[in-house]
Symmetry: C2
Subunit: 194 residues, 2 copies
């Protein structure tokens, strides 16, 4: 019995710990591909072009948008982010799974064009927990933190567009739950090739 490739979209408020969860989940599955997004933001320390993101100048990003090369793109906190369309389609066409990490705006756009994707919302146990997490991370300016606080309520309301909600209260549990979702979706009747 063979099965179709599945597009998994992992999303949630920024700072909730999506990246850390995804790093472990990807290492749990040898046959799960991670999509690499394009962004115009500056690389953070330890980020490598083509691994975390493809880092491009704004002019190049705009050209990709104009040429329809992005599955979704969005402006978040003054930077552009986008998902290369062809990479995703190529994996699905060859019945391979691919995982996207997207902010909430991006996930909602992908939902419109790829309704069969599996949407996983990573939620913080509480607003206070999310704020502590972001401050501890220390990667964000005060103004960026304030923007996040404002968008929290509206972001949480988008949960209803997702298939699954995973609360990141305990990291190891969150990792095992996301892994369980991937295992389960792989044996859904609708994903079997007949």
């Amino acid at each position: 019995m063979f099965r179709k490739g599945i597009l998994f979209v992992i999303s949630g408020p920024s700072g909730v710990g999506k990246g850390t969860i995804i790093d472990s989940v990807i290492s749990n599955f040898s046959d799960l591909n991670l999509s690499v997004s394009v962004t115009t933001r500056e690389p953070r320390a330890n980020e490598i072009d083509g691994r975390e993101y493809f880092f491009v100048p704004v002019s190049k990003f705009q050209q990709m948008v104009a040429d329809g090369e992005l599955l979704e793109w969005a402006k978040v906190y003054d930077n552009f982010y986008g998902t290369p369309r062809q990479m995703v389609l190529d994996h699905l066409k060859s019945n391979q799974d691919i995982l996207l990490e997207l902010d909430i705006q991006g996930a909602l756009k992908v939902k419109k064009t790829m309704p069969n994707a599996v949407f996983i919302f990573i939620a913080p146990p509480s607003f206070e927990d999310l704020m502590q997490r972001i401050e501890k991370r220390g990667k964000d300016s005060q103004s960026s933190i304030e923007t996040r606080m404002k968008s929290y309520e509206s972001e949480m309301q988008y949960m209803e567009y997702y298939d699954y909600v995973v609360i990141n209260e305990n990291l190891n549990i969150a990792i095992s739950v996301v892994s369980a979702i991937i295992t389960a979706e792989r044996c859904r009747y609708n994903n079997i090739l007949r």
Copy 2:
């Protein structure tokens, strides 16, 4: 965040190994209740009334049917099997999960009255594998084995009414996949109480 109780229905051709899988899955989850069916068949060695089944005479079974006390019932290989309705509803009402092991006829009936249940089909890797398994088990008469062989093709066609298909090629993998389905379903957005 609280969630609704979920009814899990595990089914598949007889002899495929449903019972063995369920024993392990139940021991993996302290908060997963196992429904106990009513049957008119004779207890096998080691079976205890009220644990594997409630063993009742045919007259009592017919009374339960007449009184609407069974969620589903079916005649399989000259015996009656049924699921006590109240036990299932009580668990769901108190937001607890309950798992039913049903033959394919029973699962299809429950699907009509409980469309929100999660239906898991346990499939053998092949017809030959299933036959070997049944013969090895040695619990079945030759005529019962022949009846099973005849019903195999039609039973496999009912797979399409299920949400998930788990192939029982390797027992430990099958157990972990069914466990993953339970974990995943518990964090589906639709099962969250709002």
